[in-house]
Symmetry: C2
Subunit: 369 residues, 2 copies
């Protein structure tokens, strides 16, 4: 079976590395073959919305998935029509995750606590939303935002007009600003037969709007339960197939759903070495119609993103028990170039090691696990 993946970035690359041992082949579609997955898989190169290219992908693959969400649902639906290719995760889930408004409404409809929000399509609507929801708040583009891009914090009515001028060309959403205590995420998979498997909770640490550190399992049984219940609701509502992630703010020990990602997720990279079955393998198993593997944690994992430039490989590999993942990308400020994972026998050992590693790798960020 050949699995098609739209997007050949590191997530796609790790899907292929997890899927090859199961006997699956891969075909990617991306703007360039000089992408992480392009190192070891064929890539159809062109625009993500190129109908002819998407159709070729659909004709050569039994199932089509995607490794990021900024792709055209319409183009994918049209191109795969009257081909035998299934699409997984379902396009409805992709559409909901692409649009912050649809996403919030999904959370709301499923009884999943989220921030208050309002759609904004005019300066007047923005002013109304600010009055109704209050300040501070965050004005965000509904689509194509990631890692803090396309966002503006509004602190007073005077901020409305400049923010509107800057972002107003696109459909927007205004959200309550939540001064949260920290961020967690939950990741799980649903198979074609409807089995669901949920990973232990991740605690995520950001700097400059980019994920830097994930620690899992995060020992918060009540939060784990609530987060897993929310995830199940979304998985079932969409008759979902594949891996799904939801990020939550934690405020006063309550979960506030922030966003969902209909794909494998950066905060789940620790599962490669830290769980019985990785998120990548479970995504492949699910979309290929196979049973899911165990999501049990094998120890206490910490995953550190390698951003902007790669530390010397020799020094990283000299760290006892460190697992390196170099995506083979050109260095560029703020770019995710790789990650590394440690799996320790106790939470205390993980704490000490990840603190020491972070101090060594990113002393200026001041992240304190």
């Amino acid at each position: 079976m050949t699995i098609g993946v739209v997007g050949a970035g590191q997530l796609g690359a790790m899907l292929a590395l997890a899927g090859y041992p199961l006997g699956f082949d891969f075909l990617f579609l991306d703007r360039s073959a000089r992408t992480p997955a392009g190192r070891f898989a064929p890539v159809l190169t062109g625009e993500f919305s190129d109908q002819a290219l998407l159709r070729r992908l659909a004709e050569q693959c039994e199932v089509i998935s995607f490794d990021w969400e900024n792709i055209s649902v319409e183009a994918l639906r049209t191109a795969t029509r009257s081909t035998r290719a299934r699409i997984a995760p379902p396009l409805k889930a992709l559409a909901a995750a692409q649009d912050r408004l649809a996403e919030k409404r999904t959370f709301e409809r499923l009884g999943i606590g989220t921030t208050r929000f309002a759609a904004v399509d005019s300066l007047a609507a923005l002013r109304r939303a600010m009055r109704h929801i209050g300040t501070p708040g965050v004005l965000k583009t509904r689509r194509f935002g990631y890692d803090g891009k396309g966002q503006r914090v509004l602190r007073s009515p005077a901020d409305a007009e400049p923010a509107w001028t800057e972002l107003g060309a696109a459909p927007l959403i205004y959200e309550e600003f939540v001064p949260f205590d920290y961020e967690v995420s939950i990741i799980g998979a649903r198979s074609r037969r409807g089995e669901i498997a949920v990973y232990p909770l991740n605690r995520n640490y950001h700097a400059d709007g980019i994920l830097r550190l994930t620690v899992a399992p995060w020992p918060a049984p009540r939060l784990q339960r609530v987060a897993a219940r929310s995830l199940r609701r979304v998985l079932e509502a969409f008759h979902y197939v594949g891996v799904l992630a939801i990020e939550f703010f934690v405020r006063d020990a309550r979960l506030i759903a922030n966003e969902m990602a209909p794909r494998v997720h950066n905060s789940g990279h620790w599962t490669i070495e830290g769980a019985a079955t990785s998120q990548f393998e479970n995504h492949v198993r699910a979309i290929a119609g196979m049973p899911l593997g165990s999501t049990r944690a094998l120890g206490h994992a910490a995953m550190i993103n390698l951003i902007g430039e790669m530390p010397p490989r020799q020094a990283l590999l000299a760290e006892a028990g460190l697992h390196l993942h170099d995506y083979g990308k050109e260095p560029r400020p703020g770019r995710k170039l790789g990650h590394c994972t440690i799996v320790e026998p106790t939470a205390q050992a993980r704490h000490n090691r990840s603190k020491a590693l972070l101090r060594r790798l990113y002393p200026h960020l001041g992240i304190k696990p």
Copy 2:
């Protein structure tokens, strides 16, 4: 860095899968691109001794390794002369492992217990060897034998002539027949800087001359110590770089070295999920000049080879905690098509699970772990 590998079989494929996350690229040389590594790496196709091809490999790679030993040492030495490519493991070790006589002499020279043996290059020499060493004994081709091929058990003087007629076209060795209790193997790596890391001992179960099951760590501390000491001697004697395996017969709790393999080894496949760093990653680390990773076992592993035909994938993946490795090869009787590994928290759990799995997969073989 691009790593060249002569041989694109499953061992080469697993080397690439282990090396990609470290940021290395791979280039293979094999008779066909329709090989396990050819699924996700470029392959120069032609004969293994093709000088022009070997030279192209040497020109495009910083280091050249091999995934099986039946390749021409001379061709490799000549082709890489006056290129910048290093060869690892060293050709001297490859040469010794290719020739059962050189191999036995290596063991003898290093004080590693082995079977009594004699070189045989005539029927008269065979008769002398049989008188000297006794019967039963095994007449073997010195080169190109594996999985029991090119061997004949001789039980009485009358067996000499037919065996000589059958095998005598090639250089031969006559060895004492050892009615051993069971087989173990030890695997370890040596880095360019001379660090050595040794994995826990493997116990191997064969049927029809093919490895079927490996169980590791095999709890025999004294055998582990003796085997590791032997391995270190060979690694140091050759200034070895990369992974090396030695197989031993165990008789009355004594180790008798049978053969060595200058490469990753089938009995070490369990290290992918069962050790902190797999044999494949450690081979890549070593030959690329990187520090070695920990060889610590993560639990109690059992690896079952999938031979002749693949069991249905759906059923295998439904086994809790089973890790599947499908090499993507065409089925053929006696052919290694894949393997699967379980890692259990206790030796007893491993025993029960591997017994149940074997009963399911290969009821007719009667292997009893």
